[in-house]
Symmetry: C2
Subunit: 245 residues, 2 copies
């Protein structure tokens, strides 16, 4: 509300849309449209980050790799945010892997140019620090959620977060995939998804998944979803609240 105001409907990334026109104008020439193809790794663990991406659509997962080689999702970015958070903090390394989980497009800027802009624009710096804090809140809640909540609640939460980041009600998604994200077994997801489907909250079939009762799904989720969403709204304005609308 306070910060976010859709200056330009053509700007589909929430952060860019929230910038004052002058700052956006200065940034624009440095931004280049790129595709985010499904399953592409945008950067790996310990890579040097050379770009920041402002997604316009699609969904990017941040994955931590454990000692046993398993990966687990520790964060999600979509058009409400950016990919390459360490650069906001002035660092150029990442502990996690960024991988495209639903295809889309993004606006890309080089790390050096990004750094320049961060120094020159108070509005950009302020905005991105707020985003960083909102993202931090989401991870914090995930840490608590992973420790205490049942698969079914976590699945509902995850589906809501995914649903927030796409335009359609229906999106490609397998149980196998979700099980990796949540760090649980695949049958565990099948069971939990079966319960949600019987309750009429979702519908799925062979690699596609649809939310059929969004309020119901929200009720089935743990509060972590709502808390994170509120925090995004508070810090970045209602318009940035992860786009369930």
């Amino acid at each position: 509300m306070a910060l976010i105001d859709q200056h330009n409907a053509a700007v589909r990334n929430g952060l860019l849309a929230a910038l004052p026109l002058a700052d956006l104008a200065r940034l624009r020439p440095k931004l280049h449209l790129v595709e985010l193809p499904f399953n592409q790794t945008l950067y790996s663990m310990d890579d040097t980050l050379d770009t920041v991406l402002f997604p316009e659509s699609g969904m990017v997962s941040l994955l931590a790799t454990l000692d046993d080689g398993e990966q687990i999702e520790v964060g999600i970015a979509g058009r409400e945010g950016l990919v390459g958070l360490p650069l906001v903090f002035g660092d150029d390394r990442s502990l996690v892997e960024a991988r495209v989980q639903m295809e889309g497009t993004a606006l890309r800027i080089g790390a050096a140019a990004f750094r320049d802009e961060m120094e020159q624009s108070d509005a950009l710096r302020t905005l991105l620090l707020r985003y960083a804090l909102a993202f931090h809140a989401q991870i914090t809640l995930s840490a608590a959620c992973n420790a205490r909540h049942a698969i079914e609640q976590r699945l509902a939460r995850w589906l809501l977060i995914a649903h927030d980041r796409i335009e359609a009600n229906d999106f490609p998604m397998t149980h196998e995939f979700i099980s990796m994200m949540l760090g649980v077994r695949r049958p565990g997801v099948t069971i939990a998804a079966g319960i949600l489907q019987k309750a009429g909250l979702i519908h799925y079939a062979r690699g596609r998944m649809a939310v059929t009762d969004r309020p119901g799904l929200e009720a089935a989720s743990c509060e972590c979803y709502h808390t994170a969403r509120r925090e995004f709204a508070r810090l970045l304005g209602a318009g940035a609240a992860q786009h369930s609308d």
Copy 2:
């Protein structure tokens, strides 16, 4: 190494010690020594933050409160860092509660003065953003750790983190307390602690706990501990690496 250099041995907080002398000198008159008594809540969920604390000793836990009223630890701060992280991001609210888990002292600065200093001092801003990123890494690893690792490993990790933040080998700590921190049952901690004690890694009795074989305890912990520690060292210099020395 690069950033941290003990300018003044009397400065016991790692972040303050890493500041250039000029910046530290400007900050000093605004810092006031305060006690951190055991179990004191420094701020609660949704409080407005009016101070930043730079601990000199002791340990402060950040606790998330879940829907059922249970609390679970989602972060730890000691003399390597600060309490009041949202103010570094330009915000003055917190989603979590900050509570003193081991008594100590801290240097305190008002939120307004802190904000002024952040604007004036590039060194302070850079340093605190790096700390924020290191802290962020720790939470990220906790999220993965909470989802996948067994109680015993998580207990070892927690004890190492606690051990890093105290001077003595021996510190007051009950199983009940740890169980709240880890988000598990108290007997679960007793079992896990019993195993670690039988292995000769720790010793405990009636509310006190001691690390008797630090390398062994590190081996018993999951890699999350080492990864987080490396990240602190990389971002803030070896001297800031959580003070196990």
